[in-house]
Symmetry: C2
Subunit: 170 residues, 2 copies
């Protein structure tokens, strides 16, 4: 199935000069959605994955679905103040300002084999932070899986020490 | 499977006097996650559902997974300014202030049979708004499915005209 055919290009969003890759037509198509979930999960089926983790909000779109496909649990990583239990936190720089993400401390056991997921690999800034956060709890990052990779932004270089899979590349 | 056993009670979050029902232990457990996805989907298997829709961020946790379980597509409803294409919008009152949600206009055909999903039914304010938004595009709301229902907050009464299913009640 040619999943790229379900991605819609939208010029000048969210700002002039940016070409936005809109995945909502893919999500809306039952066959494309099923194929995307399988394509995200498939390369990691033999890697002993014990949990899938993702950062809100867009990471949640595929997080539980891929966890279900792999027969494992799902660990949500959230913006500061949303998780109610004891958390590990990590702050990281954005283009303008800073952001802080959190995960429940009891979501990860030392050595736990975690697959990280997001819909989009752009500069990789959020994913670098999410991986570091998981590693503060001694998670073993088995790999990173993305639906769309914007290769020109070189996120893959920033995440160089991890095994990276992307379903669609631009 | 007794899914309630995987919900953690956290007193005084996000503010004193509130008892927060934390679903993250359920998400983290592979069998509980799988059972929850099935329990959310199962009552609607024979209703000709054509799409599952959910509001970010927590609604996304189960949205695609339940869409996949039903063999249909997923329609994300987002906060204002996040969706790149032509949208329908709806503003609604919160306890303090207002919020606006959006959906892509081309995500819904008139008469399309949509199942709405969220992890939590509390007062029902966001879900009322989400249903109204879908109906501005002439969606047919087949039902609403929630993982957790806080019955004391009477969200069910505000959503009285819809068919409502909840997996766990308090």
């Amino acid at each position: 199935m040619e999943l790229k055919a379900f991605i819609r290009d939208i010029p000048d969003f969210p700002q002039p000069g940016i070409l936005f890759r809109d995945i909502t037509p893919l999500l809306a198509d039952k066959a494309a959605l099923a194929a995307a979930i399988e394509a995200l999960a498939e390369p990691f089926r033999k890697d002993g994955v014990e949990a899938v983790a993702a950062v809100e909000a867009r990471g949640f779109i595929f997080g539980s679905a891929v966890a279900r496909a792999l027969g494992v649990g799902f660990v949500p990583i959230r913006k500061q103040g949303k998780l109610p239990w004891r958390t590990a936190q990590l702050s990281y720089d954005l283009e303008y300002g800073q952001d802080t993400i959190e995960v429940h401390r009891d979501a990860i056991r030392p050595g736990m084999r975690v697959l990280m997921i997001d819909d989009l690999l752009a500069t990789g800034g959020t994913m670098v932070a999410a991986c570091k956060l998981m590693e503060t709890l001694e998670a073993k990052i088995v790999g990173l899986t993305f639906l769309v990779e914007l290769t020109a932004l070189a996120g893959r270089d920033r995440l160089g020490t991890y095994r990276i899979h992307s379903v669609i590349q631009y």
